[in-house]
Structure formats: C-alpha cells, structure tokens
C-alpha cells in the first residue's frame, strides 16, 4: 500500500551525520585561517543536502533551522558577510544543535525547542547585522520558505492529508488549493510518502498529502471554510507560524512535529511490520549498519566464486572415488584451505573501519578545550586510514578522548610557561595510528611538561596508594597514574582531575585484549602507546600440550620458544623458577602447576617465552604443537571469567581448548611473588 520509509530514513540519518561531520571539518578548517571559497562551498553543500533530505521526509524543524544556517553561509560565500571567529563559533554551535535535532528525530524524543529557538535567533541576528551592513534586501534564498522569513506579518502552515476515498466524493484538492491561493501567497509541498507501487495504485484513491504555507492577513476561519466540504474526509491541521523568537510557538510546532512523527511510522507499519520494528530497534542504539567499500564486497564475491569451483571439483571426487584420484583430491583440499582462509580474511575486512572515523572528532575537541584552558595547541594526525575492527573502534573512542583531554589539561602547558621553558608557545599534540605485526598501535604524543615524578609520588603517598618508604623506578612511578583514584590535579576541573580516568582507560584497553604503555620525559613530553589486536573474533594461536590438555597461546605475545636446558634452570627460595635466557634471568611459570596442580619435570618440556606489560616470562609446557588460527569463543556467555584464561576455542577434532590470557598469567605470577615482600 505505501512505501517502507524506515529504510530510507536510516540512510538519511547516516547521510545527515556525514554531512554534519563534513560541516564541522570545514568550519574548523576555516577557523584555522583558511579563506578558500571552496571550503565554504563544501559546508554550504552539506547544509543544503541536510535541508533537502529532511524536507523530503517531512521533518519540518530541521529544514527551517538549516535554512537560516544556509542563508548565513550563502552570504559568507558571496562575501556579504565576513567570516569572523564569532560567526564560526555560532556556526559550530548550530552544527551541534542540528546534530541534536537529528539525534532527537531519530530517537523520536522531544526536541529541545528552547535551544533551537535560541541558536536560530542568534543566526538571524547575525544575518540582520550582515544585511544592514551590506544591503537591506534579504538574499533570494530566504524567500524559499516563507515560514523562515521573519518579516512576514502572518503565515499559516496547513497539513492536509485527504483520506483515500476523498476523490470518490467528488472533491478535488486542486480546487481547494486554487481557492486558498485567492487568500494570499500560497506555497504547496506534496508528501509522496504514502504513494504505493504502480501495481498497487488505484486510480480512484488519493495517496498524497500536502503541506501548505499561506501568507497574508487572514483568520483561521477563512481557511477552515475552504476545507469545509472535505471535513471528515481528511486529516487537517492549521497552525499559525510566527516569528521564531516566540517560544511558546516553537513549542507548539515541535508538538506538531511530534504528532507527525507518530503518524509516519503508523502508516508505514501496516504493509511491513518488520520494517517498522527494525527502525524502532535501531533508533535507540548506535548505527547497527556499516558502510563497506565496494571493493571489499567484490573481493568477497570473487572468493565465493572460487569456493564454488573448488566445491564442484571436490564433489567430482566424492561421486567417483578411486585410489587414482588421491592426488587430485589432495590438491583440491589444499585449494579449499586457501580459499577458506582468504574468505575468512575478506569477511573480517568487512568489519574493518578506518580509525579516522574515531579521530575526526578530535580537531573540534582540541579546539574547544584549547579555548577553554587558554592554551594554544596544534593537532596533527597521521594514519587515519589504518583499519581496525568496528567493535574495537567503538570501544577505543572513549579512552582516546580521555587521553587527549589529559594531554591537553596536564601535558601541554600554558603559553607563558612554554615560552619561559624555551619552547614554542603553541603546543603540539600528535595522534598516530599504524600497524605493527598483528597489532594496531595508536600513539597520543604531546610535547608538554611530561610527568612530574616527584608530584606523582607525593600524591600517591598522600592518597595512600604507596607507602613513603618504598622506592620506585621511573617506570613504576609512571605506572602509578593508572591506579584507581589517582589524580595529580590541584583542583578538580570539569576537564579532568577527578581521578577516575587512567585506570578506566587501562581497564577498557585491557578488556579489548590490548595494553597501554606510557613514556615520559620531563619538559619534553609524554607518549602514550596503545596496542590493540586487529580483531576480537579470530586469533593466531600456538597450540601447546600440558598433560593431556591442549592450550592456545596467542601468537602475538610469544617472543620465542626453546628447548629447556636443565643447566640454565635455577630458583629463588625454592619457589620461583628462573631461567637464564642469554644474558637475562626470566621467571618460569609452570603451567601444569598453575592449571592442574602438579608439575612435570622441566627438562622434558619446552619453554615459550612470552612478553606482557614489558615483562618477559617463560611458560613451561610439555610439547609445542602446530600454529593455527582459532575462533574465539567466550567462556562468560554460559559460565564465568576464569583467571589466566581469556576464552576458549574449538579445535579441528571438536574438542574445546582454552586460550591463555598471557598478561593475566604474568600479572598473577608477579602478584604471587610480590605478596610476601609487599605485606
């Protein structure tokens, strides 16, 4: 009967967010002193698409608001209005406001009419300043929607939705409109959303709805009179549109918008209830969809094609099995293995997104925060195209924001301080991302004051995190900032200093299977390095045997593996095993002891040297088996988290094997060995 709008709405919202990001990026470029007309054009185009799109979907608030924004941009483009810092601030605020409106519309919540009206009024004020300065005629674009034209004495907005059978009673909407036009200047916009497909279209039925704007000094009765004949055959709403400044009016309008929103899904849901349900499910959460580069899809399709060929080839052997064909069968299996692996990689790549999606919020954040703290900061970013798993990307965003805020608040000093220290007044904040091995590395680097070792120690002692008598290495002091409740800020600001932060950052990163490292030099700056696995679903693993059980050690944490030479094994206090690895001693974790409570003789086994948190530890295992990719299955879904185990996987023979949590094991081993000393 009618089109399923929800699908298009989802796309529209996505485009809106893209447009908003483009506007923001453009504005920030302008702010940085760019006077390129093309930059303004880009912003203008983005605003225009949002306006056009939202008008198509009948979301009146957004086009009205965007219109004022667009007019201002148009004047800037024509040089009738100068690009000032105030103007950019206002435009950025409008972008925020617009984003809120889009969010609100998407979630179906009440819009913040007060704020919208306020920003819109500011926009109009700026417009009128620009106008009086240059020429008193409003730009031609302002005529498009009389509702936004505030010089209007009175304007009526009419929503007119005839019932399907209205035409059968001999009423013609066209005649009604002609009569309306005699009352004043009339603008008509048709809503085609209920139009069915050609096959389902009944020529006697009316599927259209209209939105009309009527200007002129007239009373509501005059309009209602015209619609008298069709009363009961249509849904009719007549609203007076006045100047935006009138708050109660804005409220009334948002109510109208709310009603209309309520209308649309109802009409949509009748033909396909599932579509409407999807929309509702999608409204609350983040975008459940993902935009994939067409190339990736093509690769996938090609691989599936190859897989089908291999399958048919293997099929042939299955139908006519003879010893002679063994070689062909083996070749086929090899091909199948390769296909599967490539297919798996391609499928994984679909989930990969460039980290730029997370980085692009920082220019704005740095700008706003810099202004607030009166610090001058230049942000440089590299490696925005580095790809990582969507889940990882979503979860890393908040910790990254935290680190950037910290770098600005604690790291980079005020301009005077920097000058005194012989550094350029503008601080440099660098964000880079790159691949290294099976990891993605993200660095947050600032050239600020660095970590103040004495201050950290003093604070930690005050907060009772360490005792005064302990001595610490630089590294240990630097790691103190990851302790829960630690903060060096003298006073709590709304930027940072509450002491909830770095520990949460580290926890989030650890939860993702990554780790964070800090390097700092007084007066030179601080580098925070985050290492994350590329994906959470699959892992390159080394299979090892302990007793009768098989365990998986993540390949990324393995440094090397070696045959145990009994002469190199020694111990401290008969407890902690040590192994002399070339010039250093590393501690040995006897996995059989930890997991099964009994140990095997070391000389029979092998040692897997792993690294976690900058510490090297040898894991004693009985035998090294093959390497393979394993699919990670959660133990928590049906059970509980287990210390020293990060998950499970299913091996080729259908058995379950546990995946070792190397950082957890190492930490556990250190905790145990430190206990008597710390207590």
């Amino acid at each position: 009967m009618s089109m399923d709008l929800s699908e298009f709405l989802a796309v529209f919202f996505e485009e809106c967010y893209e447009g908003l990001s483009a506007m923001e990026a453009g504005l920030l470029a302008l702010d940085a002193g760019c006077t390129d007309a093309e930059a303004i054009n880009t912003i203008f185009r983005a605003a225009h698409s949002i306006k056009g799109g939202s008008a198509t979907f009948g979301l009146n608030e957004i086009p009205q608001f965007t219109h004022a924004l667009e007019t201002l941009l148009d004047q800037m483009r024509n040089g009738r209005c100068t690009v000032t810092r105030d103007a950019i601030d206002l435009l950025l605020e409008s972008v925020d406001c617009l984003r809120e409106m889009v969010d609100g519309t998407k979630a179906g919540t009440e819009l913040n009419a007060k704020r919208i009206a306020l920003v819109q009024r500011q926009l109009e004020n700026m417009l009128s300043i620009g106008e009086s300065a240059s020429e008193p005629i409003a730009s031609p674009a302002a005529k498009e929607h009389p509702s936004a034209d505030k010089s209007n004495p009175s304007c009526w907005q009419i929503f007119f939705r005839p019932h399907a059978h209205m035409l059968q009673s001999g009423n013609d909407p066209y005649r009604l409109f002609r009569e309306l036009a005699t009352l004043g200047h009339l603008q008509v916009e048709a809503d085609l959303s209920s139009l069915p497909s050609w096959v389902e279209l009944k020529p006697e039925s009316c599927y259209l709805a209209w939105k009309l704007w009527l200007e002129g000094e007239l009373a509501r009765e005059q309009i209602l009179e015209i619609f008298q004949w069709v009363e009961g055959d249509c849904d009719l709403k007549v609203e007076k549109v006045e100047e935006r400044a009138d708050e109660t009016q804005a409220q009334a309008e948002s109510e109208v918008l709310g009603e209309r929103q309520a209308d649309i899904p109802n009409e949509v849901s009748s033909p396909s209830a599932t579509g409407a349900k999807n929309e509702r499910a999608g409204a609350g959460q983040n975008t459940g969809s993902i935009r994939v580069n067409i190339e990736k899809i093509d690769v996938l399709i090609n691989l599936v094609g190859e897989l089908v060929i291999t399958q048919s080839m293997l099929n042939r052997f299955g139908e006519d099995f003879e010893q002679l064909h063994m070689n062909g069968l083996r070749d086929g299996l090899i091909q199948l293995t390769r296909n599967t692996r490539e297919l798996q990689e391609a499928a994984m790549h679909i989930r990969m997104l460039p980290i730029g999606a997370s980085f692009n919020r920082f220019p704005r954040l740095v700008r706003d925060l810099g202004n607030k703290l009166s610090k001058r900061v230049e942000l440089s970013m590299s490696g925005e195209n580095t790809e990582l798993d969507k889940t990882v990307l979503e979860k890393i965003s908040d910790p990254l924001v935290h680190l950037v805020r910290n770098a600005l608040d604690h790291g980079i000093e005020a301009p005077e301080v920097r000058k005194a220290a012989g550094k350029p007044e503008t601080g440099l904040l660098q964000l880079c991302a790159y691949h290294q091995g099976g990891n993605i590395v993200i660095e947050v680097k600032d050239d600020g004051a660095g970590l103040n070792k004495e201050k950290i120690l003093r604070k930690a002692q005050e907060q009772g995190l360490v005792s005064a008598s302990d001595t610490f290495s630089d590294e240990q002091v630097q790691n103190l900032i990851f302790q829960p409740g630690f903060s060096t800020a003298e006073k709590i600001s709304d930027v940072s200093g509450r002491g909830v932060g770095m520990d949460v950052v580290r926890k989030n990163i650890n939860d993702l299977g990554g780790h964070v490292q800090i390097r700092s030099e007084a007066n030179k700056g601080t580098i925070l390095t985050i290492r994350l696995p590329l994906t959470l679903a699959i892992l390159e693993g080394q299979l090892v045997r302990i007793g009768t059980e098989i365990y998986v050690v993540p390949l990324t944490s393995i440094v090397e593996s070696l045959q145990v030479e009994p002469t190199r094994v020694s111990s401290i206090a008969q407890r902690t095993g040590l192994y002399k690895l070339r010039d250093e001693y590393i501690s040995i974790i006897r996995l059989a002891q930890v997991f099964h409570g009994h140990s095997h003789a070391l000389d029979r086994g092998q040692l897997v040297v792993v690294e976690a948190d900058n510490r090297r530890v040898g894991l004693a295992v009985e035998e090294m088996l093959g390497q393979q990719q394993v699919v990670i299955k959660s133990l928590e879904t049906n059970f509980q988290p287990i210390r020293g185990v990060s998950g499970a996987t299913i091996l080729g023979d259908g058995r379950v094997a546990l995946i070792l949590d190397v950082p957890g094991l190492v930490q556990g081993c250190i905790d145990r060995s430190l206990t008597p000393i710390a207590a």
Binding site: F639, P641, R643, I650
Partner: protein, 168 residues
Amino acid sequence: MTAKAHSDGATMQAQTGTHQYLTFLLAGEEYGVDILSVQEIRGCSSVTPIPNTPGYVLGVINLRGTVVPIVDLRKRFGLAAAEFGATTVFVVVRAIGLDRHRTMGMVVDAVSDVYNISPDEVKPAPDVGNAIDHDFVTGLATVDDKMMILLNIDRVMNSSVSEPLQTH
C-alpha cells in the same frame, strides 16, 4: 513453584495445571527438573577441564560450536564420585540467572522418566539440616510410591558460577 514464564509448552501446562518433570538418578535417588528448562540430553563426550574452578565444575564441552560448562551433580551435592557408566549422560539445561540465560550441562547417573505432577502433589521438603542446600529443592513429590526430589535448576546451576573475579 517456580514462577517462570515460558512461552511455548507452558500453555499445555497452564491448561492442565500440571507440570512435566524429567527425572534422573543420582546415587539411587530420583531427582526431577522442570522439563521446560531441559534443552537436550546427550551422551558423555570428552570434557576440557577448566583451571581455577571448584571441583564440581567438570569442564567445558563443545555443543555444536557453543562452549558449555558441565557440572558434576554428584560432586555438587557432595555424593560419592562414580565412574562414568553406560547410562551416564549430560543433561543440558537452560538456567535463568539474574542477568542472562546460561546453557549448562550436568552429569547424572541415568535419565529415568517424564512425569506429570500437579502443583498440589508437591510437598514442601522438611528442613533436614544442610544435606544439600535448601534453596535447591522446590519440593518433594510421590509417584508410584517413589519419592522424587524436585530441583530448582536455576539456583543449582547459577550457584555453581562464582562471582566474576576482581582483576585488581
């Protein structure tokens, strides 16, 4: 009675007012669980032990791609351990926890029968000290002069899962 609201199968029970129970044997005693919480019964397969868990958690198995923990009910109830025999099976149940559903398995000596038991046939269990946790038992029922111990499987299973370990 358990106040669970199962959508399917529950209608039949609502109509007749009786509940169906699957019963199984453990050291000669007959225990019953609400049949709606039983997902499947499967023969014993190899179990991968999990370190750092109580002894009654036998380990995990691969249930068509899902990792499912197995609880040895004999050990859970403090009964003498027994070798796995020809009739020993895993009963896979869906246990409803506070935050989520868990699919878990339990080792029983043998599956016995399915009985219809109406709520008024269920007698409260007398307080017999701490033979097994009182919370685990919903009541006792008698069928053909045999006593059956009806278990609250959600409590039995969820109590076998300890609180998430604090990492710091």
